[in-house]
């Protein structure tokens, strides 16, 4: 490492490899690379930035600790096991081998779920000809490609804590939490490092007390692994464009609770329940049981759910009260809560995987498999693949050019199971554009045909998937009543979803202070959300005029943390101290800027967020 001051205000330093974000992909990358660096039996890999020293490898993570990520992880763990052949799940808190796996179709016990005629008919048929317990129908058989039978249940936070401890114990690399990266240092199409986020600024980013401009960290290789809504990955997408035919059209927000199950629970560790059908047919859910009577329970709200009031939290509260789940959760107690966006475009959302001086890994590189509902292990695998390529180049003394990274990293990835299975999954979800039943049939078709056949078409831009409230509630709430509710909520400065869902027949949530708590309590008791002072707002509404004319304000409705609220004059307000950085506002903004994939909401690099390591 060398350091210098290239201006009175902004410092810079030079390292060999700078990583952006510490998630499963970087965990795979650093696990593999740090072992090589610490291997005394092999020739040392010397630093070019600081001759005479070992390779200088740094990783910057936005969150205040290394275990504050979110995922509902049940995984076959092929890449993770390959990296840790002697992996003993009992050594990782909250890890358990999968013991029993069920898929439940949840019928609607409330009568408020918005089900198409065909689905209602199917529900009636099921109730008439099958023995239905707890308003749930267990699928007697599920295709092998959905199974995680030989896999593991993890808490992502605990897994990341465990891996980071292994990595840092080598002493070969450094991982810095609480250090957001603002942007990549672009030089044409090359990346020359990263710029860290300015500190000591006001909400608008203007210098204030304790101003410390973000340092420029110059690096021969920048590893971009900041997830699907990360600022650096999206900056590269904007600057370099996407490969032909690739786009990020399909998203979901996953929201979960981690709970202590009651002492008399009958659910053993290793139980996996996948569900679909409730609270809305478009919303999938899960319940995974960890050791020591801890369970993760959550839902996914997709971008193709056309409701403008796609509130994850209220739906999650109804989900846990479904009789098939409530029988296990009634006396449970909230431990943790979190939410994150999932890039469900998978391989179709794959950006340019490398260029001069940079490589992309993990979910932001399009590794998530939406057919097998698996992302953590795939992300980890891409990190391992990049590390193997990087080691190869370093040992050969070759620079990190696009050509060399294509050969050393991308070629490895193309030959791997991540790529093969990603191609099978590429069109698997297109059927959901025509409805849930078609979507499920499309998934089965893609799975059985190994991706050769599919139903439906590629989704449009997510901004174009949001319908009108009047259309969504047609037959349930008259348009003039919607207008009245809208005006009333605007006056009170609250989102629409509670009033509309109440009116549509969803019963009020019977808060019990244990599992059913207010959204703010979920933030505080579960997510322990907070943000350090001295950083700028990272959610910015670009053109207030466009916000005023929006009328849907999906950003307000879907915000996982009530950080975005209705504002005076029609432009929403943003409260940085509540934000969990899930990024759902970004892909839910229905105001697309003309001639661009961008929307009227910017999701920039920011600090803070969840402070729970159990999600």
């Amino acid at each position: 490492m060398t350091t210098e001051t290239d201006s009175p205000a902004r410092q810079s330093m030079t390292v060999d490899i700078a990583c952006v974000g510490f998630g499963p992909a970087t965990a795979g990358f650093l696990t593999t690379l740090s072992r090589r660096l610490a291997d005394a039996a092999r020739p040392p890999l010397e630093s070019a930035a600081s001759p005479g020293l070992p390779l200088q490898v740094l990783c910057y993570e936005r969150a205040d600790d290394l275990g504050f990520g979110v995922s509902g992880v049940v995984t076959r763990a092929r890449a993770i096991r390959a990296a840790f052949p002697d992996l003993d799940p009992s050594q990782i808190p909250m890890a358990a081998p999968v013991r029993e796996e069920k898929v439940l179709y949840l019928l609607d016990p409330v009568g408020a779920s918005r089900r198409a005629v065909m689905l209602r008919a199917a529900d009636r048929t099921l109730r008439a000809f099958h023995r239905i317990e707890d308003h749930a129908f267990q699928l007697p058989w599920t295709p092998a490609f959905l199974h995680k039978g030989d896999g593991l249940i993890f808490s992502l936070g605990q897994l990341m804590q465990w891996v980071s401890a292994q990595v840092m114990a080598t002493g070969a690399v450094q991982i810095w939490p609480g250090t957001p990266v603002a942007e990549a240092l672009l030089d044409g199409k090359a990346v020359r490092g990263v710029r860290l986020l300015d500190q000591g600024v006001d909400r608008q980013g203007r210098p204030a007390a304790g101003y410390l401009p973000g340092m420029d960290v110059r690096a021969a290789l920048t590893v971009v692994a900041d997830g699907p809504v990360g600022a650096v990955g999206r900056q590269l997408d904007d600057a370099l464009g996407m490969p032909e035919g690739h786009a990020r059209r399909e998203w979901a927000v996953g929201m979960k609770l981690v709970v202590d199950l009651p002492e008399d629970t009958t659910l053993p560790a290793g139980t996996v329940l996948h569900t679909f059908g409730f609270p809305e047919p478009e919303i999938f859910g899960f319940l995974y049981v960890h050791p020591d009577r801890i369970a993760s329970v959550g839902i996914f709200v997709p971008s193709w759910f056309e409701s403008p009031t796609r509130t994850s939290y209220r739906y999650l509260q109804h989900y846990v009260q479904h009789p098939a789940l409530w029988r296990h959760l009634q006396k449970a107690r909230l431990r943790s809560w979190g939410a994150k966006s999932i890039l469900e475009s998978g391989r179709r959302g794959e950006p340019f995987l490398c260029g001069d001086g940079f490589a992309r890994i993990g979910e932001g590189s399009g590794s998530t498999n939406v057919l097998t509902s698996s992302g953590v292990d795939e992300a980890f695998a891409t990190g391992v693949q990049l590390a193997e390529g990087v080691i190869e180049l370093l040992e050969a003394g070759q620079p990190f050019t696009r050509e060399n990274l294509e050969r050393a990293y991308v070629a490895r990835r193309r030959q791997s199971w991540v790529e093969g299975e990603g191609r099978v999954a590429e069109k698997a979800r297109d059927g959901f554009q025509r409805g849930v039943v078609t979507g499920l049939m499309g998934m089965a078709l893609a799975g059985f045909s190994r991706g050769r056949a599919s139903l439906g078409e590629e989704p449009p831009h997510p901004a174009e998937q949001v319908g009108s409230l009047e259309a969504f509630y047609a037959g349930k709430i008259p348009p003039d009543e919607i207008a009245r509710i809208r005006a009333d909520c605007e006056k009170k400065g609250v989102p629409l979803h509670d009033a509309l869902m109440d009116r549509a027949g969803w019963s009020p949530i019977p808060m019990d202070g244990q599992v059913l708590v207010s959204q703010q309590d979920a933030l505080l008791m579960g997510g322990k959300v907070q943000a350090p002072a001295g950083y700028a707002d990272h959610v910015v509404f670009l053109d207030p005029q466009l916000c005023r004319g929006c009328g849907k304000r999906v950003c307000v409705e879907i915000c996982s943390a009530e950080a975005i609220r209705p504002g005076q004059g029609g432009t929403p307000t943003f409260d940085r101290e509540k934000c969990v950085h899930c990024g759902a506002c970004l892909w839910s903004c229905p105001t697309r800027l003309p001639g661009s994939d961008r929307v009227n909401l910017e999701f920039r690099a920011g600090a803070g967020g969840l402070h729970s390591a159990e999600n």
Binding site: M13, D64, Q174, I175, M525, E614
Partner: protein
């Protein structure tokens, strides 16, 4: 004056944001799922560390050492956050940092480690720490370390330290009634148990982090085991205050309105 040798005694505690639940373990009382909880540098020790760095920056030739007794793996994790704040050298002892460890045991290990610091010069030694701990507010460990090292000048609840011309130390201590007591001592050695001090939490500085990390990892790798127990104390029961939450987040409420709501809430019981 060739600067101070400031030794900050501080370890880690579960992140105060987490929900803590005492349980009985085979090793004695502990916290439920303690291994899973994210940890932070004890906030009281944090104030002491930042004050130490502030003083060291003003007095050339000063050196700050953070002496931490805690589980090595957790210390490692916490150092990645703390290490970006201010320059220090880490000396680590690998042992439990639970709030249930016995202060006598802990102070003995810490005093021994201070005594073994290379180049220790008592005439320059300032022993800093928090005046209490976020894991259990017994607030006696620092005093006992001072006693074991034979340092009679001890100050608790310190909010400010000023070096006078000639090297005497003027110290502002919190006393009853929301007031401060001003004391002056001739100079080191002295023990200062810090209250909050007056400094904001330093910004994360990557260069400070890089410099610190050169010493942090080796210090962790050679951290000697420091088994400390409950000192034969039997805990009949342990409890944390009952948590009752009725949370709303409201901004721009006047102090009068906040006070009125709190009074109303208290009166409900």
């Amino acid at each position: 004056m060739s600067g101070y040798q400031i030794v900050v005694l501080g370890s880690i505690v579960p992140d105060p944001l987490q929900t803590l639940e005492p349980v009985a373990t085979a090793q004695g009382p502990g916290l439920k799922n303690e291994a899973m909880l994210p940890h932070v540098l004890d906030p009281w020790a944090g104030h002491a560390l930042y004050e130490a760095a502030h003083l060291a920056a003003k007095v050339p030739g000063s050196r700050v050492t953070l002496l931490a007794l805690g589980p090595k793996a957790k210390l490692q994790q916490v150092m990645m956050a703390v290490g970006q704040k201010v320059p220090f050298e880490l000396v680590a002892l690998d042992g439990p940092a639970s709030g249930f460890t016995d202060a006598h045991d802990v102070s003995a290990k810490l005093a021994e480690a201070v005594g073994k610091l290379p180049g220790l010069d008592r005439s320059r030694l300032l022993l800093f720490g928090g005046w209490e701990s976020a894991s259990r507010g017994a607030g006696v460990t620092l005093q006992m370390v001072g006693e074991r090292l034979g340092i009679p000048d001890q100050f608790q609840g310190v909010d400010a330290l000023t070096v006078q011309d000639g090297g005497a130390l003027e110290i502002l201590e919190r006393v009853e009634g929301g007031k401060h007591q001003v004391s002056v001592c001739a100079g080191p050695p002295a023990v200062l148990g810090w209250a909050t001090g007056n400094l904001p939490e330093p910004k994360n500085n990557p260069q400070v982090g890089m410099a610190n990390m050169r010493g942090v990892m080796p210090a962790l790798q050679k951290a000697p085991p420091a088994p400390v127990g409950t000192g034969g104390v039997k805990f009949e029961s342990v409890a944390v205050p009952k948590v009752t939450r009725e949370t709303r987040i409201v901004k721009d409420l006047s102090p009068d309105e906040i006070a009125r709501e709190i009074v109303e809430w208290i009166e409900k019981d």
